[in-house]
């Protein structure tokens, strides 16, 4: 792990995302995922059989069916059988699982993908079902109502934010990433985006126990990932609502010079469960294209930024911020 003398350097060596759609074009999950898997394989020149581990992220409720990831698996060529897992989370967490798995040392590459068909469901209703089922979900507050509580808290705390948030349009889309370790990464990619810090933290679900003008878990994840160990040129933040940027800039310690969501961000494309992975892919793409030397990606889940993941990407693996992760361990929590 970063911070350990035995850490393996791991980089993002390929990233692909769909042409996201605000209307249902009749694509299945398989239709969304397969071209992207083909694209990242082509970019790296890897054969399917050379992928050591595969992990994906999705949400059954978006299309209202159990096991929506099973159909997607049918598209990625899982034959001969593959070492594979799935999180019912944003695929940024699938990337985390794959990155941890590569640290074992016996696997050098991983394929990560996420997909979401947001256009066929009612996200306010679906998100309400992800809250405390006894006391909160029956009120059906929805993601926008919850975001409104945080926007109001931020406005009251002096942030210059609109206290009346609007959600991004429902989106269909997907993303795929290939991770590779050490020499394999150097062989597959002219400018690998090295993961020099990666961490995620959750905080209590009960909003009454949290100060909504802060995001303690985002701050913790940023510290453990070592964001502060160097300048950040570009950041891709999982800001489904505009007011979240101001808060996250502060909690991640981003300077005013740092360009946030140059890609357009989740406000312009929000395929739920791929949105966070796209942030990591976009932050990596700035390094792949030579446009930046150090970028940060952020993914979030839960009401009012309950669960936050932070990834630091660098053009060089030497002098990595992994050591900052160790410093973070010693820091106050």
């Amino acid at each position: 792990m970063p911070g350990s003398p035995h850490a393996r350097s791991v980089a993002i060596v390929a990233f692909a995302q769909s042409e996201h759609s605000f209307s249902d074009l009749g694509w299945t999950e398989a239709d969304l995922v397969m071209p992207l898997v083909n694209e990242v394989l082509e970019t790296t020149g890897l054969q399917r059989s050379e992928i050591g581990f595969t992990c994906s992220g999705s949400n059954d409720y978006l299309v209202g069916t159990p096991f929506s990831f099973v159909a997607a698996l049918d598209t990625i060529g899982a034959w001969p059988p593959i070492a594979e897992s799935h999180v019912e989370q944003d695929a940024a967490w699938a990337l985390y699982e794959a990155w941890v798995r590569i640290q074992h040392g016996d696997v050098d590459t991983a394929l990560v993908y996420g997909f979401g068909k947001g256009t066929v469901g009612d996200y306010a209703g679906i998100s309400s079902l992800s809250y405390d089922p006894y006391y909160v979900a029956p009120l059906m507050p929805g993601d926008v109502g919850m975001a409104g509580l945080q926007a109001r808290a931020l406005a009251d705390a002096g942030f210059a934010v609109d206290p009346d948030p609007t959600p991004p349009p429902p989106t269909d889309g997907a993303a795929a990433v290939i991770l590779a370790a050490g020499d394999t990464a150097r062989r597959l990619c002219p400018r690998p985006a090295w993961i020099t810090g990666l961490d995620h933290r959750i905080e209590p679900h009960g909003l009454g126990t949290r100060d909504l003008a802060r995001s303690e878990s985002a701050r913790q994840a940023a510290r453990h990932a070592g964001v502060g160990a160097g300048p950040v040129e570009f950041a891709e933040l999982h800001t489904r609502f505009e007011h979240e940027e101001a808060l996250l800039r502060r909690e991640l310690g981003l300077s005013e010079e740092c360009v946030v969501n140059a890609s357009g961000g989740p406000r312009k494309a929000d395929p739920v469960m791929a949105t966070g992975l796209i942030r990591i892919g976009e932050a990596a793409a700035r390094i792949h294209d030579g446009g930046a030397r150090r970028t940060v990606a952020h993914a979030a889940a839960g009401p009012c930024l309950q669960h936050n993941l932070v990834c630091v990407l660098e053009a060089g693996e030497a002098g990595t911020a992994g050591t900052a992760g160790t410093a973070g361990e010693a820091g106050e929590d």
Binding site: A78, E84, I202
Partner: protein, 393 residues
């Protein structure tokens, strides 16, 4: 495999048709607190939490790890939510173990649960994508044709499934956590029960349960510290693997899936197992329908192809046989779906720790042989397994 990883604490809830006495949070917390107590730890000692369960539609709570973070003491920690269909309990254990094997964490709490009384699992499993039609009802409707194919291929006598149903329910009488307790169970009772999905009778299928299971997985350092406090030995992970294959692929053998064989081969290679029947003292294998015992006996290499049913028939897999399968009573006796895989992993660990109580297999108690934990899911396409032992690998 990376760094060494051990099971240092196990906690289970009582499995029941309906746990109306606890909320979802109360259910998972019950298992977690028991695992922590077994490990001599508190929530404050835990570095990371991994939660697993089957489809969210079983309880109608979407991404429930968000709501469960408070009850599982996860605030300020990393938290993951795994979902790999029926194999998820096993996969969740492996995702947690991976964090230890990677050197990322010293103590990981893994928790798997299902509170099936919140919904109707058969119909939750029959809801299919708006993009494709489904012609089956429930898991039994899906698996019955595979079982018929197995019987035809192997020439197994028709009573083998009933023998498994009786054996596992007799084992459950030794397990205080088991859901189904049928003291009068015999072949006649099974045979008389209603045919649900030919050839699966009512008493040859698993129940629908509420329940949770938790384990604390630890590094070598954490394992030594726990043992020093509790006096209980850990179960070391000797081999661990996941394998998946597509559901819809022409030529795929869904009766004897290659992913299952490959997964077992990977675990056996890591653990140095060449003769599973001799080297394992016990196996906890995901058998939701009785006939899956002979099918998995072959898939996991305990018997030659076509000969699995002969082991069952000979009594080899019974509690007093030479290779007891599901001494806890198995999935046929307790089935909170999302937890069922992890229960197998945890029961395998308890066997080699010598902590299985009345269903302790004597040959496993001295820790000289390994135990196997197994889970599968989807259309017999997702597999997760581990081999655990009392000796450090």
């Amino acid at each position: 495999m990376g760094n060494r990883c051990a099971v240092i604490g196990v906690g289970q809830t009582e499995y029941r048709a309906k746990r109306a006495d606890v909320s979802l949070a109360g259910l998972v917390r019950e298992a977690a607190l028991r695992a922590l107590e077994d490990a001599g730890l508190t929530f404050a000692d835990i570095d990371s939490v991994v939660v697993g369960k089957a489809p969210d539609m079983f309880e109608g709570v979407v991404t429930p790890e968000l709501y469960l973070a408070d009850a599982l003491g996860a605030a300020g920690k990393p938290m993951m939510r795994v979902h790999t269909a029926g194999s998820v309990g096993g996969s969740t254990a492996l995702v947690g173990a991976s964090q230890v094997q990677a050197g990322r964490h010293d103590r990981v709490l893994v928790v798997a649960f299902e509170k099936q009384s919140e919904s109707n699992a058969t119909w939750a499993l029959s809801t299919h994508s708006p993009f494709s039609a489904s012609l089956v009802v429930g898991a039994g409707g899906y698996f019955a044709p595979y079982i018929r194919a197995y019987i035809r291929r192997s020439g197994a006598p028709g009573n083998i499934g009933m023998m498994v149903a009786v054996k596992d329910r007799l084992n459950a009488l030794r397990n205080p956590y088991a859901h189904l307790k049928l003291p009068d169970i015999d072949l006649a009772m099974v045979e008389k029960s209603m045919m649900l999905w030919d050839p699966i009778r009512y008493l040859e299928t698993c129940p629908s349960s509420d329940g949770a299971v938790a384990m604390v997985l630890g590094s070598e350092r954490a394992a030594e510290a726990s043992t020093a406090v509790t006096g209980r030995r850990p179960a070391w992970v000797h081999g661990a693997a996941m394998r998946s294959e597509p559901m819809g692929m022409a030529g795929r053998d869904s009766v004897d899936p290659r992913a299952g064989r490959d997964c077992a081969a990977d675990v056996y290679r890591q653990a140095g197992v060449t003769e599973p029947r001799r080297q394992f003292a016990a196996a906890e294998v995901y058998v939701p329908f009785s006939w899956y015992e002979p099918m998995w006996l072959e898939n996991l290499g305990f018997a030659d192809k076509g000969a699995g049913w002969k082991l069952t028939e000979s009594g080899a897999t019974a509690f007093d046989g030479d290779i007891p399968w599901n001494p806890s009573g198995g999935v046929l006796s307790s089935n909170p779906i999302g937890a069922s895989g992890m229960i197998r992993f945890a029961e395998a660990a308890q066997q080699v720790r010598g902590q299985a109580g009345e269903h302790q297999v004597p040959a496993a108690a001295d820790g000289s042989r390994l135990a196997l934990g197994h889970a599968y899911g989807g259309g017999s396409q997702f597999f997760a397994m581990w081999a655990v032992g009392a000796a450090k690998p």
